[in-house]
Every structure is written in structure tokens, then in C-alpha cells.
Subunit: 434 residues, 2 copies
């Protein structure tokens, strides 16, 4: 019997009516003869309300207590969804992260899953129950309640899908899937039918919000087939899966942008061994994620090191950096939080050398100055002024004519659909009507 | 070192400001050199909101899921209180019912505590932490989350106090203590300084809402000294404790009333052995609590059996009773939900035989008809019309001049205070200012 993991985000379960709609969708999937395990987030707004309450009490709430507080949110949505499913005549059972065996490390607020002991989930599925699991939360190896941080519910879903050996992990969200660019900026942006794990990794790392980086990484490492789709309609979304020869036709998959980072430049760093390590080790120790790092050749024995980090971490990073600058004998620290990053991602660019040049040309033609460049084999990222980001996304999207590329790809459907069709019983064709 | 268990109800933790006030109170107690374990209810209104949500989804929510839903409430209040205490510079840690070792049976919605495994609580107290425990909830022997039903947080507090061998269990509530009658009905009603477990049992069983019956039972069985007091001021409340020779001076402790019950009369029951058992066994099996049972002498081989039960259970009880009536050959079943019960409670009435007569006289003088009478050695209860209840409480209160009795008692303070004073370090005298 096929096994399906579905994940519904906070907006999808934002009210009693929406929870009932989700219940109908879940039951429809079960009625097609599949075992269904559902992961839910807290009802939208509920987390914000809890955060507000905590802020009234403490400016720096204790991380353990914050996790205890926030995890009440999923308890509410999962119990309500379970009731709604039973109301439709199906057996259901809700489980906390702890009951579902989501074991994490002890980093409150951003715990990592270290093990999934899904025995109770499996037993309940085998008894014919629909299992509702609280996303975003787990229990630490020291028996405290933890949260997985941003995108945590997606993590729960993918980790359970891996452990349960699910046929597919459906991530239901408030967008239709992965797009060639943010449709709010580029109205003609097209939904992608499928992207490879590698492409999705680069897109997520570059600011695409639909899936978090760590979740894509986990899916790739465990070979979990992910289907990102809308919870508000029955259309197919975007498949995230192993690269496939037929996917190669698209040079570019999409453009991501990110204005959540700040740029730091350490000016006049003596160009000596170990300097880079002395700069970045203290930041790493504080858990600050440094993104783009650029170091240019040195002139008269000194160089400048630039990098980006989340704006939110700038306050924490500043004293560390001042100390580092003094330690290594740098001239000064410059910080700039009015920057944005525009990234072009596509597995096809590996075999198409002119892509970077085309991107730079498009930006130059629009009069947009590129401040920092960094690339991977399937991504080119440029730092520009924050005020130029939207224009940059538009002109790069136009340059690569992404809508037509996307059309070309849909004429050659990727194999994910075929795989799924093979896994589903015949009546699955009726899904669009469910 | 003295160990204190404090319990704060939903109103006491109803907002961020109130939680901060509770935190100050808890820290003041800890500053007096005591170990403090705090039990909290969910913030007032939050439980109602959750019940409303569930009602939108299911008319008969699944009990297990309902428990999962409702227990999110205490998670919120306990995490916030823990944060508020830490904000005052004290170490604190919150624990769910499960983490605090509250093990219950599997009756969702009204679970009974079967064991308290307070190892984690004790360890944290020994580390100098203030421990905040979620009231009202536990984990069943089958590892599901359960709730303890009405007055559940008081139960948690008393059970923990027993297991931790606490010196006192303080129940903070929105009233000042136990009164000789409901002050909303009898403005001159006086707060009692101390009542015995037996008296409190009778008062609770007779409708006094300040403490639930099962909680008083548990306290009596485990010898837990309980102090019921207001969370909105620093005044001493009412001590609930072992009877003491100096308590005997008061003939009457108080008057309780209850309009939550309905009266059932089975008319024309053949007066044969086993009939009573055949009537009440099916109700007991359904978990319906029958209260006053009265059976009069029979005329021509038939008798009438009257009893009271919660109005809320009447719908469930009716079909069972119809079946019973047919089975035993009774003539008919009469139900009446417009009744009320007025009870006079006092350990002293054991040695003062005229009390019942005085009560009946007071009611008679006021023209109030008594429909059913039932007594224990320290309680007299009368069923009257629901519309007569308030008047009945007033005239009985006046008859026994309870205010003066209460004054008389306060001139001879019961030993509870002395016991506590002995347990507290000298600075405990400053409590009134905390």
C-alpha cells in the first residue's frame, strides 16, 4: 500500500473552516487506498500571538521556555485536524513531535533532528489510522521539548517521509509551487514542473522561501520525492527530485532574490595564512551563518574580505568582528544593510558558459551596479543595492526568457509524474476533482 | 529547607501583567529560603477559546484529541511564568504534566492520578530552580496525554505536595478563602480561618466551589496541609487541615448551596431486595455520580426512591432509568431540574443535637418547603425549589449567626498557623508586605 506524507502550513490550517477543508483533502487521499501521515504547523497568527505574549514578559525569553511556549501551537492544530477527520468517519490520531519519535539535539529554537523513531506512527498507520503529527517540534536527547526553527514543519515532514519510506512527501503551501521568479515582482513568471535537488538547494539558499535549505538537503540525502503544491486548489505543483537527463533542457530554472542579509567588509586585512579562519571561526561558534564570502587579491600585503550574514545577526556579530579586526590588525569594519542578492540558478548552466556574462550584461544595461559576485557550478549571485533588487530580477528574468523555457520543459514532462502515477491506484486520476 | 507548593488558577495568570505579579509572589516565597514548586492552570479564557474551536469542528470531539487540544493551554501559561521568574533573576524550569511525572489512568477528560513520579521535579528543586508544573494534565499509562477534569490543577498541586512532602500547598484563587456562605448571597458572610478535611469534604460535596471534592479527599488521605488564599492580596486565607480540639468551638462551619443538580424520583418501586442495586448499578457503570439518595418506608409493598444527579447527566441517564423502571416494575420516573440543595456543615453538630431542628425551623419560618432531607454526621442537606435557594441560605445563615461564630473562632486561632510559622524562617513575617 502506498504511503503518503502530507504537510500543511499555518495558513492552510488558519481557521476551523480551513482545517475542515484540509480534513476532506486528507480523507480523499486515504480513500484512494493510501496510508496517510499528515504533518501540521500551528494555525497562522497563533505563533505570532505567543511570541507577542513572551515579548511582554521578557526581552530575551529563555530558549527552553520559548520552545515550550511555541510548541503549544501545533498541539492545537493537530488535535483539531484529527477531530475534523474523525468527523468525516475516518479513524485518526494526533501525535506530538515527541510521540512521533522526532528526536533532536539540544539546541533550543533551532534544533536538528538526530533520529526519527517512528514506531508509534507506523503502528497507527498499520491499524488503518490517519496519523497527524505536530510539525516543527521534537524532544531532545535530554528529554526537553525543542523546536526546529524556520521551516521546521517541512523538516518534520521530510524526515518522517524518509523514515517511513513514503512514496512522496507533499508540501502543501499558500503558493502553487516553485516559480521562475517571485510572481509578485515578475507577473509573467512561470511555475516549474520539476526541479532537481541541486537546483532547489541553490534556489533555497538564494532566498526562495518555498522550501528551506535544510529541508531540501535532507530530502536529497534521503532520496525523498517532494511535491510542493497549493493547499487551496487541486493543481499539480512542483516536483523536487533527482536530476534526470530530460531536465537538462532548461539552462535556467529560476531567479531567487533575498533582501534579508547585510554585507560586512573587513578592510585592510593583512594577507597572511590563518587570517580567514580567525575571522570566521568566532562567528561559526556563535551559530551565525555566513553566506557569500569574497576575498580579492591583495595589494601591498593587505586585502579586503567581504561577506554577507543575516541582518538579524548583525548586532550579535558586531562585537565579535570588532575583536577579530583588532586581533588580525585590520584597518576597519564596514557594515551595510541596504543590499540585496539576486541569484540565477539552473543545472544547465554547467554546460552553457555564457550565462554569467549574459546576466551581468542584463544588469549593466539596466544601469544596476554589481557590488559582489559569487558563483557555484549551477548558480550565479550578485549583490546589488536593495533598491535595485526588483528591477534586477525583472531584467534578468526577461534576458533569459524564462517563461518560454518553462513552456519548453512542460512539453517534456519530467519523470516524477510518471513515477507517481505508477505508485497510485487507478482512481488517482480523480485527484483533480477532490 | 521548607518546601512550598503553590497553585495559581486561570484568572491569576490571565494576562502578561498578572503572570508578572505571580512571578513576583513566587520569587518572594523563594527569597524566604523555601523551595518552591508552582502549579498553573491555563490562562483564563484560553480554555474556552479552545473548546469553541473544537465545537466548530465536531459536536462530540474525540476525548483523546480534546485532551491533546486543551493541554496546550497550561503549556502557554507555564512557559510564560517561567520566563517571568527568570526575568526577576531566579532560575526556573517549566514541566508538562508528563515531565513532572503525573501518571494517570486512561480516562480522557477525567483521568485519575495513579502515580506521581516526581524525580525530575525534585532534581530541579535540589538544583535551586523554581519548578513550574502544568496543572490539570498528565500522561496515561498508555503514554497518551490526559486531563484531570474539573479542579484538575488543584489535584495536580495537592498530589505533588503529597509526593514532594511539601510543608504546605497554597491554592491561590480569585476568592479570599472559604466563607460561611457565598458572599454574593450573604454579604455578611465571614471568611473561615480554618476548616477540617471532613468539613471541607462536606462543603465541597455540597456545592462550595472553592475546592473540588476529590482534591480535598486526596489532601486528607495524604495529610497535605492546604491553604486557600487570594492571588490578588497578601492576606491569609483559609487553612484546610486535620481536625483539632480547638476547632470544636464552632458548631457550624458554613452553608453551601448547589443548583447544578436535578432530582429524579422512581415512583412505585416494588419493595424487594436488590431493587436499589438494580437502579443504581447501570448509572454507576456509565460514570454518572448520584448524590442524595432517599428511600422512604413502603406502603402496600411499593416505595418511592428519590435521588439527585448532575443536570448535565440527565440526558444520558434518562434512557437507562426508563429501562430500569421497566425492569423492576416501577410505576413511573419523575424528573425535576428546578431544585436546589442547601447544606449546613460543621464538625460541631456531632455533639449538638438541635442543629437539624433549628435549620428546619428557619426554613419553615421563611415559608420554604423542604422536599428531601439527607444528613451525615456533620452535614444536613435540604432540597428546596431552585427559586428558594438564595432565601434559604440567608435565613439559615442568620439563624446560626455565623458571623459571630467565626469571630469567636478567630480569637482562638487554630494551630495551622502556628505549624506554618514554625516551618518558616523568621523573615516569613514580612509576607503580608510581599
Amino acid at each position: 500500500m502506498a504511503l503518503l506524507v502530507q504537510k500543511y502550513g499555518g495558513t492552510s490550517v488558519g481557521s476551523a473552516e480551513r482545517i475542515q477543508a484540509v480534513a476532506r483533502r486528507v480523507v480523499a487521499a486515504a480513500d484512494r487506498g493510501q496510508k496517510v501521515c499528515v504533518v501540521v504547523s500551528a494555525m497562522s497568527h497563533s505563533t505570532d500571538e505567543l511570541v507577542d505574549l513572551a515579548a511582554q514578559i521578557s526581552s530575551v525569553p529563555h530558549p527552553r521556555e520559548m520552545d515550550m511556549l511555541l510548541t503549544s501551537g501545533e498541539r492545537i492544530s493537530m488535535a483539531l485536524l484529527s477531530m475534523a477527520i474523525m468527523e468525516l468517519g475516518r479513524e485518526a490520531i494526533s501525535m506530538t513531535g515527541s510521540q512521533a519519535g522526532i528526536v533532536t539535539d539540544t539546541s533550543h529554537g533551532r534544533a536538528r533532528i538526530v533520529e526519527v523513531r517512528a514506531r508509534r506512527v507506523l503502528e497507527a498507520l498499520d491499524e488503518g489510522k490517519i496519523v497527524i503529527v505536530a510539525g516543527f517540534q521534537g524532544v531532545s536527547t535530554e528529554y526537553n521539548i525543542t523546536t526546529l526553527g524556520r521551516g521546521g514543519s517541512d523538516m518534520t515532514a521530510v524526515a518522517l517521509a524518509a523514515e517511513l519510506d513514503a512514496d512522496v512527501c507533499e508540501i502543501f503551501t499558500d503558493v502553487d509551487g516553485v516559480f521562475t521568479a517571485d510572481p509578485r515582482i515578475v507577473p509573467e513568471a512561470r511555475q516549474l514542473h520539476a526541479v532537481s535537488y541541486e537546483e532547489m538547494l541553490e534556489l533555497s539558499a538564494s532566498g526562495a522561501r518555498v522550501l528551506q535549505l535544510r529541508c531540501v538537503e535532507y530530502a536529497r540525502n534521503h532520496g525523498v520525492l517532494v511535491h510542493v503544491r497549493s493547499s487551496f486548489n487541486a493543481e499539480e505543483g512542483t516536483w523536487v527530485r533527482e536530476e534526470d537527463e530530460r531536465m537538462e533542457r532548461a539552462i535556467i530554472s529560476g531567479i531567487a532574490h533575498d533582501t534579508s542579509e547585510a554585507k560586512v567588509t573587513i578592510v585592510g586585512v593583512p594577507d597572511k595564512p590563518h587570517v580567514a579562519a580567525r575571522v570566521f571561526t568566532p562567528l561559526a561558534r556563535e551559530g551565525i551563518n555566513v553566506d557569500m564570502i569574497v576575498q580579492n587579491i591583495s595589494t601591498d600585503g593587505r586585502t579586503d574580505i567581504s561577506f554577507t550574514l543575516p541582518k538579524d545577526d548583525l548586532v550579535r556579530a558586531k562585537p565579535l568582528l570588532d575583536e577579530v579586526a583588532t586581533g588580525v590588525g585590520a584597518r576597519e569594519i564596514q557594515t551595510d544593510d541596504s543590499i540585496g542578492k539576486v541569484s540565477l540558478v539552473g543545472a544547465g548552466m554547467k554546460s552553457h558558459p555564457g550565462v554569467a556574462a549574459d546576466m551581468f550584461e542584463a544588469l549593466g544595461d539596466a544601469g544596476i551596479n554589481i557590488e559582489v559576485i559569487s558563483t557555484s557550478s549551477i548558480r550565479i549571485s550578485c549583490i546589488v543595492r536593495a533598491t535595485d533588487v526588483e528591477q534586477a530580477v525583472k531584467v534578468v528574468h526577461k534576458k533569459f526568457e524564462l517563461p518560454e523555457e518553462a513552456v519548453a520543459r512542460e512539453q517534456h514532462p519530467a519523470t516524477a509524474t510518471d513515477q507517481i502515477k505508477a505508485l497510485r491506484p487507478p482512481q488517482s486520476d480523480g485527484e483533480a476533482a477532490s
